[in-house]
Structures are given as C-alpha cells and as structure tokens.
Amino acid sequence: MEKLLSEFSVGLFFWQSVIFLALLFLLRKYAWKPILNAVNEREQKIADSLELAEKTKAEMQALQSQNENLLKEARAERDAIIKDAKETASKMVEDSKTAAKVEAEKVVAAARQTIEAEKAAAISELKTQVAAFSLEIAEKVVRGELASDDKQKALADKLAGDINLN
C-alpha cells in the first residue's frame, strides 16, 4: 500500500484528468452526438420503413381481397344476367309459339267456318238442283208413262193395286 502511494504520480493524475476531460468534451461534441444521432435516425427510419411495409402489405391484402370480392360479384352478376337473358329468351319463344298457335287455331277455325258455310251453300244448291233434276226426270218419266192409253191404264191399275194393298 505504501509502495502504491509512493508510486502515485500527482502530475500524471493531473494530466490524465485534463486529457481525459478534454477528450470527453471534444468527443461528445464532434463524435458521440453525431454518431448516436445518425444511428438513432437510421434505426428510426428502418423501423418506420418496416412499419410502412407491413402497412402496405396489409393494404395490398385488403385490396386483393376487395378485388376478389368484386370479381366474385361481377361473376355472380354476369351469371344472373345470362340466366335472366336465357329465361327471357325462352319465354319469348314460348310466348311467340303460343301466339302463333292461337293465331293458327284462329285461322283454322275461320277456315273451317268458311268451309262449313261453303259446304252448306253447296249442299243447298245441290239440293235445289237435285230437286229440279228430279222434277225434270219425273216429268219426263210421267210423260213417257202417259204417252199411250195402255200405259195410262197399266199405271192406273198399278196405282189401284198399290192402293188395294194398303
């Protein structure tokens, strides 16, 4: 201990204090502060960038899912539209078919009526003509029957015979 104290140099202590304190203040001003500030700034920047990246990633994900939803909706809409169109088309076809059928039936009915009318007219005309022809024939037959006395007599007999039988 005594040796330690005798070896202690006051001069060295003085100069060490001076040099160390000078170094401390110089380094503080010209080195540590700028260095620590730069490092802190950089760390802050890195942290901010990472945060931003994370945020952007989340945003991207949100956007993507949004896009997917949109796509899905669009697809659904398209399907609905197509389905609608198909339905409309088939309905239209159906409608026109029904309309055509009705029209056709109407036409057929009208035709039938006309035919019926024509037929009735034809039949009535035919009846009139047949009656006329019958009269003519009957006249001609009567005239032939009644052309001689014998024949008149035979007819009278026959008629008499028919009446007898009754």
Partner: protein, 363 residues
C-alpha cells in the same frame, strides 16, 4: 474488421520479438562466465521488467548496453517548485547529471525527480530511499505523451466516423468496425444496466471511457513498454470520474438505499447505513485496482517470460518460452478488450444504481 484483426495479430507476433531487441543483448559464449555475471544478468532483467512498467520522463525505444547508448527522445519536464521550471528530460542524462533550473538543483532517481544540492546528494536513508523533498512534478512523461497521442487518434478516428454518417446512412470505413462496438456499448452495457429512460446522458462517458481504456491497453501491447492503464494514477483518474458522476447524478432513491434501507427493520437500517456508505467508496476503488492490477500483472508476466528467454541456454526451452510468450500476448490482447469492457460495464452498473427508480417489489 478482418484487416484490423490482422494488424493486431501481426502486432502480437511482433511485440515479443521487438521487445527482445530492447532487452539486454545476449552475448555468445557468456555461459562460461562466473555466477556473479549470471546474477548481474538476472538483476538487469528484473530492472528491465520493472522499467517497462514504470512511467518515465523520456521516450525510450531501445538501449545498446554494450555501447552504453540509449535510443529514444526526451520529453519536457515541468516542475512546480515556488515557480515553474521547464526543461527537457535529456538534461538529466538518464539520471547521471544534476540539472540546475532558476537556482534550484534537481536529480532524477528511479524515475522520480528530487530537489537536491549542486552535488546531487539525495541523503539516502538506511533502506536506500532518498529523504530529500520531491517537487510537484507535472512533466509530460511517457504516459502523458502516449495518452495525448491516443487522445488525438481517438478524436480523429471518431470525428471521421461521425462525418461519414453525413454522406450516407450506412456505416463506411472506420464506422464499419466501430459502429458495432458503439452499439454494443449502448445495447449491451448502457441500456440493460441503466435502463432505457436514463441511459442517454451516460452514453458519452461510457463510450469515451471504453475506447480510452481499450486504446491505451492496446498501445501497451506495442513493444515500446508503454504501461498507461497499468498505472494507478491513470486508473484513479477514471475511477474518480465514475465516482463523481455516480454521486452527482444519483436520485433520492439511491441515497435512501444507502442511509435508510427500505424494507428492513430499523436496527438493520442502522447497521446497513455505514456498510452501504463504505460500499459507495469501495466500488470505484475496486474499479481502480482491478484495471491497474490486471494491466500491470499482464505486463510483468510478459516481461518476465521474455526475460526468461535469455536465462535458458537450451534452444528447446527458448522455443517453448517463445511460444508461451506468444500465447500470453494473444491472451493479453483479449484482456485489453476485456478490462475495458469490465470497467465500462461496472461503471454502467453503478450509474444504474444511481438512477434506479423506486420499485415496490424490489426486496
């Protein structure tokens, strides 16, 4: 990073070899000499080891003992003895000459300057210690000189590092190596020990103290026999600063834990107060002794091992000791970092005690 490691590695190889050049040159064929010569040699070696751990007034690079020549350069001597006395240490001629300055006479004896008379009488006592007065010695000694150089180096390295950030956010050049260390001190020393809230105000001191001690430890690994951090005055300076900063920034909770320990019965509070108060002084004292003793011991062990190379005449033993020296040199490189780390770590721990906030579940 790899480049610097490479340089350190090369340095670790170089230093024992260069120190060999400093050591007493071995004379071939001397092994046939008498025992007294061998003893003289051992005494020289002991002196050599001691010399390399001491602070001196000149920058000694190596000596040629056979020619009695010393190579190096003198440093200024500054004395305060009823007035300022300034002269170069070369005037002492390595303690052989008495220097006269403004009517006073000074003599250099075992690295210490004494005020004597014109004849240089130190009035040695029975133990061989001088009894004359020593003036206040404020000389730029080797340690002061080396510290100044390292302070300049540190300042320019870190100033350069700071300015490299103004051009780009990523570290460049020296910053690539030092930034992880700066972050290590912040994230693994300051924040865990002091806490996130208070660590900022201590960062300047912690960073400076770490790089100051580490650089001076490393400079001690060079073959110039520099032993700044193995000097008690240096470690005292650093420890006293830690002590002052701890006490001046301490909050009420810190003082309460010293003088009126919460959570224990009153008699215990009274017993604990002096113990805790003693602890306040023991903590920086331990810091001072730990760094001083570790660095000094490292230097003594290395110096002794190198000296042993000259004791053995067997080449096998020489080789083995060279290997051992090399190994210890690498260990010392690790110790250089470790001691700087421990000093900084414990300093941060003491700062942490000083600013610790009150916790209910603390005890």
């Amino acid at each position: 990073m790899r480049k610097l490691l490479g340089i350190l590695f090369v340095l670790s190889f170089l230093s024992p070899k260069l120190i060999l050049a400093n050591a007493t040159p071995e004379h071939a064929g001397e092994n046939t000499e008498k025992l007294s010569a061998e003893e003289q040699k051992r005494a020289d070696m002991s002196e050599y080891v001691k010399h390399h751990t001491q602070d001196v007034h000149d920058f000694h690079i190596f000596s040629d003992n056979s020619a009695g020549k010393h190579y190096g350069f003198p440093l200024p001597v500054i004395l305060w003895d009823n007035g300022l006395h300034v002269f170069m240490s070369s005037k002492f001629e390595h303690g052989h000459k008495v220097v006269e300055s403004k009517g006073n006479f000074y003599k250099l004896e075992h690295g210490k300057i004494y005020k004597t008379d014109a004849a240089g009488d130190l009035k040695l006592n029975e133990h061989g210690h001088p009894t004359v007065k020593a003036p206040l010695d404020l000389s730029i000694t080797k340690n002061v000189f080396v510290t100044l150089i390292m302070a300049f180096v540190l300042f320019f390295v870190f100033k350069g590092m700071a300015s490299s950030y103004s051009t780009s956010m990523s570290p460049k050049g020296a910053a690539k190596f030092f930034e992880p260390l700066v972050l290590f001190i912040r994230d693994d020393i300051a924040i865990p020990n002091i806490g996130h809230k208070h660590h900022k105000k201590y960062m300047v001191y912690l960073l400076t103290v770490f790089f100051f001690i580490w650089s001076l430890n490393l400079v001690g690994m060079t073959p110039f026999g520099v032993n700044v951090t193995g000097n008690i005055a240096v470690t005292f300076t650093l420890a006293i600063l830690t002590f002052i900063i701890t006490q001046t920034t301490a909050n009420g909770n810190y003082w309460k834990h010293i003088f009126w320990m919460p959570g224990v019965p009153v008699p215990m509070k009274i017993i604990l107060a002096p113990i805790e108060l003693l602890g306040v002084f023991i903590k920086p004292f331990a810091l001072m002794i730990r760094l001083y003793a570790n660095m000094l011991a490292g230097h003594i062990v290395l110096g002794s091992l190198i000296s042993l190379l000259f004791v053995f005449q067997n080449w096998g033993a020489k080789g083995a000791f060279l290997g051992l020296t090399l190994f210890l040199n690498i260990i010392e490189l690790l110790v250089a970092f470790l001691q700087a780390y421990i000093f900084t770590m414990l300093t941060a721990l003491y700062f942490g005690f000083a600013v610790e906030e009150h916790h209910d579940d603390h005890h």
